[in-house]
């Protein structure tokens, strides 16, 4: 199955067009969607994450790989839906109130999508109420909060408090991240998890999705 290896390479190299066409070819040849996901796509993103950890990959390479992954997933969606396969989980993500920075948040959102999650991206400078509305309307099981500015870190605490007051806290796992955020801070504000970088955010979301199922 040379196709599977080629698809893995295309994703790893961030070649979205090639990833898309290889996936379509594989489907036409009758390759099982789950085989494509498990033997090409997931290993590609795991390898991209590993390269990021080793400082061979940085934000650009990671983001392009995630986009290629998303492109490869697109033609599989109808097939997966037909088999009754569900998304790995549903994540509401946003940069918290007062913070306009969205590069890190976008990266995590892309990697989550690449990882098979359904992602509801609320953008930047998102009020606690918007998070509450999105969780209520979507039935998401994970909320991901981002902050780049130290001065906006308290907005993470406020968002978690607001989820509590809205009676939603027990329905979702809350994960936090961003340059100034630490595990200690995550513990202090009662988040369920913290991740230091985008690939580990996906691993964290997978753990949450597993525990919620």
């Amino acid at each position: 199955m040379a196709d599977l290896e080629e698809l893995r390479e295309a994703i790893l190299n961030g070649d979205a067009r090639r990833a898309d066409s290889l996936t379509r070819e594989a489907i036409a040849q009758g390759v099982e969607p789950l085989a494509l996901i498990n033997q090409s796509m997931v290993p590609a993103m795991d390898e991209a994450g590993r390269r990021f950890e080793c400082e061979e990959y940085f934000v650009p390479e990671l983001l392009l790989a995630a986009r290629a992954m998303k492109a490869a997933l697109e033609p599989l969606r109808p097939l997966l839906a037909a088999t009754g396969a569900r998304a790995a989980g549903k994540v509401v993500i946003g940069t918290v109130k007062g913070d306009l920075h969205d590069i890190g948040k976008n990266l995590v959102a892309s990697l989550l999508e690449g990882g098979g999650f359904e992602v509801i991206d609320l953008g930047a400078d998102v009020s606690p109420q918007k998070f509450i509305d999105a969780v209520t309307n979507s039935g998401a099981n994970i909320v991901a909060l981002s902050a780049l500015l130290t001065v906006t870190m308290p907005s993470m605490r406020n968002t978690i408090e607001a989820l509590k007051q809205a009676g939603l806290r027990d329905r979702v796992k809350v994960m936090v991240g961003g340059a100034p955020v630490t595990q200690q801070f995550a513990d202090q504000i009662g988040a369920d998890g913290y991740s230091e970088n985008a690939p580990s955010a996906v691993a964290l979301a997978r753990r949450f999705a597993g525990s919620a199922a």
Binding site: I103, P154, P180
Partner: protein, 292 residues
């Protein structure tokens, strides 16, 4: 003698500290772009600028970091920039130089979110606004992408003013890469080649981590080095966010940085006029360091 060589003939220069946190102390709401205050509350922006002039800054920046048409879509770019320089000029009142601040456009080139032409047009428009009010030099700061900075330098050089480019190194195990993965060596040589008059590092981490960055930039090019570190990592307390770094401790790092080749020294996030005062009080000592 090039513009900046003339500036530096008597030794390193003291720049300014953070603006955003100072403006917040005067009522700027979180999530609001400080740049709009150039039009809404020019007197408050001038108060921040004057704080640095009075603290001993020999160079102050302008409140124009985000004033480009990509970051602030629909804003009156020409006016924001012109006003920003005019405010700093008024505060300087001939006592110090004014270097106009230009931040990243806020969208990424490599991902195709913006084209090189759009980035160039945004820089050209911002720079035209700045130049209309007559700054002494142009500063591209907090950059992470060499390509974007290259476009900025090209646009800035066309004005004939000195051009300084400063990157943020905050990524990787040793925090010696930009978000895009560039090393100090890659940044220094690319910016020298692009025709920048000075290169440097700002933001991203506390002053205690800047010495290796300064050394590596210095070793990789023949340009003067611009250094503006953060006050250190903040702590979040029940009372709010607190920077524990005190001005004297911050200033105690100055001699080593100057010895390592820094020609311009000031502070970024978390620093205040007190930090600049602390640096200024040691200025005699650090001048001696830099020339020894």
């Amino acid at each position: 003698m090039s513009g900046l060589a003339e500036w530096l003939k008597d030794g390193p220069l003291l720049t300014d500290g953070a603006w955003g946190t100072q403006l917040q102390a005067l009522g700027l709401e979180l999530g609001q772009s400080p740049d709009f205050w150039n039009i809404e509350f020019p007197e408050r922006v001038e108060q921040v600028a004057r704080g640095y002039v009075e603290a001993g800054s020999q160079i102050i920046l302008t409140n124009t970091f985000r004033s480009n048409a990509i970051a602030l879509e629909g804003a009156d770019i020409a006016r924001l920039n012109r006003q920003g320089v005019a405010i700093s000029r008024r505060a300087a009142a001939g006592r110090c130089r004014v270097v106009a601040s230009i931040g990243p456009v806020g969208k990424m080139l490599f991902s195709g979110e913006v084209s090189a032409e759009q980035v160039a047009a945004a820089f050209v428009e911002q720079i035209a606004g700045l130049v209309a009010a007559g700054p002494d030099a142009l500063l591209l700061e907090t950059m992470s992408d060499i390509e974007e900075a290259r476009i900025g330098v090209e646009s800035a050089r066309a004005t004939g003013l000195p051009v300084i480019v400063s990157f943020t190194f905050d990524t990787g195990r040793n925090r010696d890469r930009t978000m895009m993965g560039a090393t100090p060596e890659q940044v220094a040589s690319a910016m020298q080649e692009a025709g920048a008059d000075a290169v440097g590092a700002n933001c991203g981490q506390g002053i205690e981590h800047f010495l290796p960055l300064c050394r590596r930039l210095r070793a990789a090019c023949s340009l003067p080095i611009w250094i503006k570190p953060n006050a250190g990592m903040p702590e979040v307390t029940p009372e709010g966010v607190v920077y524990r770094t005190v001005p004297d401790w911050f200033a105690s790092h100055a001699p080593a940085l100057l010895k390592a080749g820094a020609s311009f020294l000031g502070g970024c996030c978390g620093t205040s006029p007190e930090f600049i005062r602390a640096l200024a009080s040691g200025a005699g000592e650090w001048r001696a360091c830099a020339t020894s």
